[in-house]
């Protein structure tokens, strides 16, 4: 090999220096590389490594997989829909919400249901309200904000001047942010001076609130979602969680998957998807809950499952009534002795053995959890049922430790924090205070800085009472915010007429809705991430929804509307806090004076953390999983490990076990109306479907059906898919029959999603005498075939 003289004179790369020097030129250079070339190569590979190393940190499409939906930025938020309150990451692209994902770090562990997933679309569906509307000569016309708000303020002022403050009202929603409900409550109760502040939570949570308040002295469940992970027996009563709280239901299933001998009991007249997965399904006859739970209590006493320490140290007994009568444990035992499983079986329509089995499982499990929602809350004896379920836990000591708790699920994203905690109901004041108590009123007057006596001593109208007052003409003006009472109230036709008579201002993100058709003024409202605010879900978790995009057209946040109204009504000085941050700070600091103390939940923490469970008195407090337990709850006194409870909501620290008897149905069955109608939801839609009904993907999910048992259907000559008419003493609705084992014989079920086939025309406006919550689950109806499946649906 002829020596190759390198132009640069460089030596060969291995021992070449010596060989080159010998001048033969015949150098062994297998590499054929000069030192310079080698250095160049080394530098190249090093830079390659550096590049790939830096690429490891960047997300170019060449280097990292990309999402199918392009997203500019992800933001932590909360779902707009139910009371589960799932944390989600919200993806924004070009100023629009385009994607959502479950937040892995939130309690839902990254899960969402179909409604959660479709949050990405709700802001951009049709019929978003974009301009204020004013009714003129019977028709709504576009107006400016100033014009609309001036009209509202003028009519409210006139009414207050002519008929007193109680002639105006606010009808709110568990979907408003805490800041909004708080401000509305303050404006009406401390500003205008009327307690006519109520809302759709009255149709939803009022019975649970009344139950908790009367048993523990303070509202809201004491446990948390995490208890599901520790429960060995889970009782779902009046809850179709599989459809209505899917992510909570998944957590229940997870518990069963982890520990297959976890015993799931479902009490429901319907054979729901929830009931199908249960180990024991008690398909009781509607309205017989009180008998069933009394039978459980009887079994606890009979089998020696009563926790003696609970009875001696932490409980007291009271006979329901006005006023309540104190009772002893012996009297309680005597009372429940009447409810033997055999007697209960005859009333409830389930076997005595099944009742005994359920009671045994509940009492003897290491930890028993009960979950309930509208099936329990929307009944004539709803508060009684709530109290008795709580009594089951208290009597057996199934409370206050992981997995053992009576836990009510809320239906709306902010019925708890927004409405129950802020006291935005007709009979309540913030943080568990009561309108009827002079001391509570005086406290609030001081905290709000208004003259003594400003807050009216007279509780306002509850939901059904409010619309009845409109019917009578006692309430002249009403501001409806974020809800759709024309569809959600029972006996719809009656209350629609009432709305027609009233000067109705409706603030909503959508128009038209069933309610805006009766509105005199429609105010376009921002929805979800078009505004900022705090939600609180079933487990007392306050969490933040950020503002990410601008509302459409001229729509404004409900808070802005309320602040504007306050100014125009001359209450501007009262509503000093005008931004979500300021209102939250005012509210947070106010809570420090109460047993709801969450002063430690600052806005900064809300922005950073995945929500915090109150009580949380200081900024370094992690939040409370189980209330009333010394050592866990910062407000509970006592020694951890020695004292099991401090029910500090009660002056004597003792929770109440209430004695209740079974009462008859308020809309009795008759030969003419032999069936019982219950209403509810399906998984894919939410409440009056104002939002979900407009999401294109959900258009084909059936909602206009009537579930009925095959035996009833056969007797009435009704087949699957037939057109049927559901008729009650109030009205009738046409639906499609869905025949099978969906409900127990004698019961039919329809959803309240459909505005076209409005089932609430048929529902009776019976309310629970204590909570004033309507009974949507037990109306007397008749069903008649109108045509075969081939005939056109109405």
């Amino acid at each position: 090999m002829a020596g190759r003289k390198h132009a640069d004179g460089g030596a060969e790369w291995w021992d070449a220096a010596a060989e080159d020097e010998d001048g033969t030129g015949d150098v062994l250079t297998p590499g054929g590389l000069t030192r310079r070339e080698l250095l160049r190569l080394l530098a190249l590979s090093a830079s390659g490594l550096v590049v790939s190393g830096s690429l490891a940190g960047c997300d170019t499409a060449l280097w990292v997989r990309q999402d199918v939906v392009p997203v500019d930025s992800w933001h932590k938020g909360v779902c707009r829909f139910c009371g589960t309150g799932c944390g989600m990451m919200i993806g924004v692209h070009d100023g629009k919400v385009v994607d959502v994902r479950g937040d892995e770090l939130a309690h839902n562990r990254g899960r969402l249901c179909i409604k959660g997933v479709l949050n990405r679309e709700i802001l951009y569906v049709k019929d978003r309200a974009t301009k204020p509307l004013i009714r003129e000569n019977g028709a709504l016309r576009e107006a400016t904000w100033d014009e609309a708000m001036a009209l509202v303020a003028r009519r409210f002022k006139e009414s207050i001047a002519a008929h007193g403050p109680d002639s105006v009202a606010f009808y709110g929603s568990g979907q408003l942010y805490t800041q909004e409900s708080y401000t509305a409550n303050k404006l009406f109760k401390a500003g205008i001076g009327t307690n006519n502040v109520d809302g759709n939570p009255r149709l939803c949570m009022a019975s649970a609130a009344a139950g908790y308040t009367s048993v523990f002295g303070k509202d809201e469940p004491s446990g948390c979602y995490e208890d599901i992970d520790h429960a060995d027996c889970i009782l779902l009563t009046g809850s179709n969680a599989a459809d209505c709280h899917p992510i909570i239901w998944e957590r229940v299933l997870d518990r069963k998957r982890s520990k297959p001998d976890t015993y799931v009991i479902v009490v429901d007249p319907r054979r729901t998807r929830t009931a199908r997965r249960a180990d024991l399904h008690l398909a009781i006859y509607p309205g017989t809950d009180v008998t069933l739970y009394n039978a459980f209590l009887h079994e606890f006493v009979r089998t020696g499952a009563v926790d003696r320490e609970m009875v001696e140290r932490y409980l007291k007994f009271q006979q329901a009534g006005t006023p309540p009568q104190p009772r002893t444990f012996a009297q309680f035992r005597e009372h429940v002795a009447k409810f033997t499983p055999e007697k209960a079986a005859a009333v409830c329509g389930v076997s005595a053995d099944a009742i005994r089995e359920a009671a045994f499982r509940f009492a003897r499990a290491k930890a028993s959890l009960s979950l309930w929602t509208m099936g329990l809350n929307q009944q004539f004896q709803a508060t009684a049922s709530n109290r008795l379920v709580m009594a089951m836990h208290l009597l057996t000591g199934q409370i206050g430790r992981p997995g053992a708790t009576p836990f009510s699920l809320t239906g709306q994203p902010n019925a708890g924090g927004g409405v129950r905690d802020t006291g935005a109901l007709a009979h309540t004041l913030p943080n568990g205070r009561m309108v009827a108590k002079p001391k509570d009123r005086a406290e609030m007057e001081k905290l709000w800085g208004v003259p003594a006596g400003r807050i009216s001593a007279k509780p306002g109208y509850d939901a059904v009472g409010l619309f009845s007052a409109m019917e009578r003409g006692d309430v002249k003006c009403c501001l409806v915010m974020g809800t759709n009472p024309a569809q959600s109230l029972p006996n719809a036709d009656r209350f629609r007429k009432a709305m027609e008579k009233t000067f109705l201002v409706v603030a909503d993100a959508f128009h038209p809705t069933e309610t805006t058709q009766f509105a005199d003024v429609v105010l376009p409202a921002a929805l979800w991430t078009e505004k900022e605010g705090v939600f609180s879900q079933s487990e007392r978790r306050y969490h933040l929804v950020p503002k990410l995009v601008d509302p459409p057209g001229e729509a404004r946040s409900d808070l802005a509307i309320l602040v504007d109204l306050a100014d125009r009504l001359g209450q501007g000085a009262l509503v000093k806090a005008r931004t979500p941050v300021d209102v939250w700070d005012e509210w947070r600091k106010m809570s420090a004076s109460s047993k709801y103390n969450f002063e430690g939940i600052t806005y900064e923490r809300l922005q950073k953390e995945r929500g915090i469970l109150w009580p949380c008195p200081t900024e370094d407090h992690p939040g409370t999983k189980r209330r009333f337990v010394p050592g866990e709850d910062p407000l509970a006194h006592g020694t951890a490990g020695k004292d099991r409870f401090d029910f500090y909501g009660m002056p004597d620290g003792r929770a109440v076990i209430w004695l209740h008897g079974q009462e008859a149905a308020q809309d009795p069955a008759s030969p003419e109306y032999p069936l019982r109608l219950a209403t509810g939801r399906v998984l894919e839609h939410w409440h009056t479907a104002t939002i979900t009904g407009r999401v294109p993907a959900l258009q084909d999910v059936p909602i206009d059906f009537l579930e009925m048992n095959a035996m009833d259907a056969a007797r009435l000559g009704i087949g699957e898919g037939d057109r049927v008419e559901v008729r009650s003493r109030r009205g009738e609705v046409e639906l499609r029959a869905r025949v099978g084992d969906y409900v127990r014989p004698g019961v039919v079920f329809a959803t309240f999603h459909s505005a076209k086939h409005l089932i609430n025309r048929a529902v009776k406006e019976t309310v629970d005498p204590i909570s004033k919550e309507p009974d949507f689950k037990n109306s007397a109806v008749a069903v008649r075939r109108k045509g075969g499946p081939e005939s056109n649906a109405a």
């Binding site: 090999m1 190759r4 297998p30």
Partner: protein, 84 residues
């Protein structure tokens, strides 16, 4: 390293293996030894983070380069001898 430069050696002993190795072939052999060693390590120790690096991300490319150089030399020589 031009073909002309090494052709005298190649022609000089047509029947015997060249006394002085072809520089490219030697490079190929060295690279192949390195590459094969790396691949062997991977094959012996199985799928582990470090064996993947040594065997797959280092060994196979090096071995591949060796093979390419070898093929290049073969083609070049075939051309030199007018066989291609």
């Amino acid at each position: 390293m031009s073909a002309a430069a090494e052709s005298p050696a190649a022609v000089a002993s047509a029947d015997a293996a060249p006394a002085a190795p072809d520089r490219l072939l030697r490079l190929a052999a060295v690279l192949a030894l390195v590459g094969l060693g790396c691949v062997l390590i991977f094959l012996m120790f199985g799928f582990l983070p470090w064996t993947v690096g040594v065997g797959l991300f280092l060994g196979i490319p090096v071995l591949g380069v060796a093979m390419l150089i070898y093929l290049y030399v073969v083609v070049r020589n075939l051309k030199q001898h007018g066989q291609l």
